[in-house]
């Protein structure tokens, strides 16, 4: 899942300066699961903004709506009228959703109301934790199902650095050392010999380093369409 976090009210209000009719647009998928931009968060943000603007004496109107997914064209048709009627859309979706709105409605203004943080999971209720760097070529079969690129602060490929202490990363006692996790997991599986192999430098072309990425489905490729 794409983990997101709502921006501060202060930052949002700064972005909204000069706009009168504002559509707060939620997203029913990832942003809902991590309590950043679902129907509930749209309602809470709208009432906070209404209250703040009332104190401030500014005349602003806030509209609320949540679509199933802002990153799919098919769910954007239903909001065309609402977008048109507003001066600006405050999107509570990840960066993908915000850009989908901008692309689908090129004559409308769109603002990001949340920050896109990482690819992760709900570790515990209310705690989200990073798991994947979307590097484009998964290698976790070499590392006990734990990704050192996403979970080691230095993205090391060949074991823990000298800053691993008591299972924690040198950057913070709150961050587990990914390599300690890998070693523990491989030890439990009886696969510690995997760590004897020197992992070669990674081919980063499949990551963002290779430029913006695109995947064409094999079916589509066969039919000759691009």
């Amino acid at each position: 899942m794409i983990i997101t976090k709502q921006k501060s009210l202060e930052e949002i209000r700064k972005m909204l300066a000069g706009y009168g009719k504002i559509l707060i647009l939620g997203c029913g998928t990832c942003a809902t699961v991590c309590f950043a931009g679902g129907e509930r968060e749209v309602a809470i943000l709208a009432s906070s903004l209404r209250m703040a603007e009332k104190i401030n004496g500014k005349k602003k109107t806030f509209f609320e709506h949540t679509v199933k997914r802002q990153c799919d064209w098919e769910f954007l048709d239903e909001i065309a009228e609402k977008v048109k009627a507003a001066d600006v859309v405050l999107s509570l979706s990840c960066g993908v959703g915000v850009q989908a709105i901008a692309e689908r409605f090129p004559n409308s203004r769109v603002l990001p109301g949340i920050d896109t943080c990482f690819l992760g999971l709900t570790a515990e209720p209310g705690i989200w934790s990073e798991r994947c760097d979307a590097c484009g070529h998964c290698l976790v079969h070499e590392t006990g199902g734990i990704c050192p690129i996403a979970r080691c602060a230095k993205g090391l490929f060949n074991g823990p650095c000298g800053g691993s202490v008591a299972g924690k990363c040198e950057i913070s006692p709150d961050v587990p050392c990914a390599w300690q996790l890998i070693i523990d997991h491989l030890a439990a599986l009886g696969q510690l010999d995997k760590l004897e192999v020197i992992q070669p430098p990674k081919d980063w072309r499949t990551s963002h380093s290779g430029g913006p990425r695109k995947i064409v489905s094999p079916v589509r490729e066969e039919s000759g369409e691009k």
């Binding site: 602060a153 230095k154 993205g155 090391l156 490929f157 060949n158 074991g159 823990p160 650095c161 000298g162 800053g163 691993s164 202490v165 008591a166 299972g167 040198e170 950057i171 050392c177 300690q180 070693i183 510690l192 760590l195 004897e196 020197i198 992992q199 070669p200 430098p201 990674k202 980063w204």
Partner: protein, 305 residues
């Protein structure tokens, strides 16, 4: 001979090596490096120049090494993978070799959050073991990481670090083995204060026969004050500072003298430890103590090879 540097010749001859560290300034003064060079000239075989140590921007390691070289000292260029991708790393190595800098120590580097530019992006394109391997391939096969040919010779004596005090302890010797397999010729360790833990690690090193494949130089950092001892115990990741040393420093009438005494005792034990081929003295900001320490350790005069 891999590179024929003085450090390599001394280690190859079986003599106990002494290296020291000279941190470059947070400025462009060549004089700072030269002064440290003069202090260290007669008491060590080679001088490490740190590479943006603790993620604080300083004069480049390459420039610092060249300044020492011009003074007639032998440098060890430290190079971290935190700040450069594989293009920049290999290019700096070519430059170092062209300038006659033959000892290169490959490191990960402290995380950028510890330094004076915590908002920087960490590079970490390759890791320190991959860098060691890259240097070996550059030297022995005359090839870049990409497999393309390098023109001319690439004489380098390849160094790597080891921290026997980090966790998981049992894995540390495997990591050393990996560095040796990747191509490390010499190792400089994290500072030793807990000598018995270090001795245990060395025992595991000898069991695997690694002391016969790589030259291990044990690191030491002289302690100047009780505050420094406490700071290293409480706040430096990967340093094992026993409480007994902190207490000795706290009770000492003259902290600097006590600090020097502690280091001398540690060096004495390291000298007698099988498989330890030298010491690496990192007197951060206290370089003028180094000649005294080396003299009192009975390691003067340094051999001429």
């Amino acid at each position: 001979m891999k590179a024929g540097t003085k450090l390599e010749r001394i280690l190859a001859s079986g003599q106990f090596a002494v290296t020291a560290e000279a941190g470059p300034p947070k400025g462009a003064s060549a004089e700072v490096i030269r002064k440290k060079g003069e202090l260290l000239r007669h008491c060590c075989d080679a001088v490490n120049v740190t590479d943006n140590q603790t993620a604080i921007v300083r004069m480049s390691s390459l420039a610092g090494c060249l300044l020492l070289k011009q003074q007639g000292l032998e440098p060890v260029m430290q190079i971290v993978v935190r700040d450069r991708n594989r293009l920049a790393l290999q290019s700096d190595v070519l430059g170092a070799v062209a300038l006659g800098i033959g000892n290169i120590l490959c490191l990960s580097g402290d995380h950028q959050k510890f330094g004076n530019h915590p908002t920087a992006k960490g590079v970490f394109d390759i890791d320190s073991i991959q860098l060691v391997q890259a240097l070996k391939t550059m030297r022995d096969d005359k090839k870049f990481i990409s497999g393309e040919d390098i023109s001319g010779e690439m004489p380098v004596f390849i160094g790597a670090a080891a921290n026997p005090f980090a966790d998981p302890f049992e894995y540390r010797v495997h990591r050393l083995a990996k560095k040796v397999k990747a191509g490390a010729d010499f190792i400089q360790t994290q500072a030793v204060y807990d000598v018995s833990k270090f001795a245990k690690w060395m025992e595991m090193v000898r069991e695997r026969g690694l002391d016969k494949q790589v030259h291990i130089l044990a690191g030491v950092i002289p302690i100047r004050s009780a505050g420094m001892a406490r700071y290293m115990r409480d706040s430096v990741p990967g340093i094992a500072m026993p409480d007994s040393i902190v207490t000795r420093m706290e009770k000492a009438a003259n902290a600097k003298e006590e600090g020097a005494r502690i280091i001398l005792e540690i060096i004495e034990q390291l000298k007698g430890m099988p498989g330890v081929h030298g010491v690496h003295i990192m007197a951060v900001g206290w370089e003028d103590i180094v000649p005294d320490i080396v003299q009192k350790s009975g390691l003067m005069p340094r051999p001429v090879v």
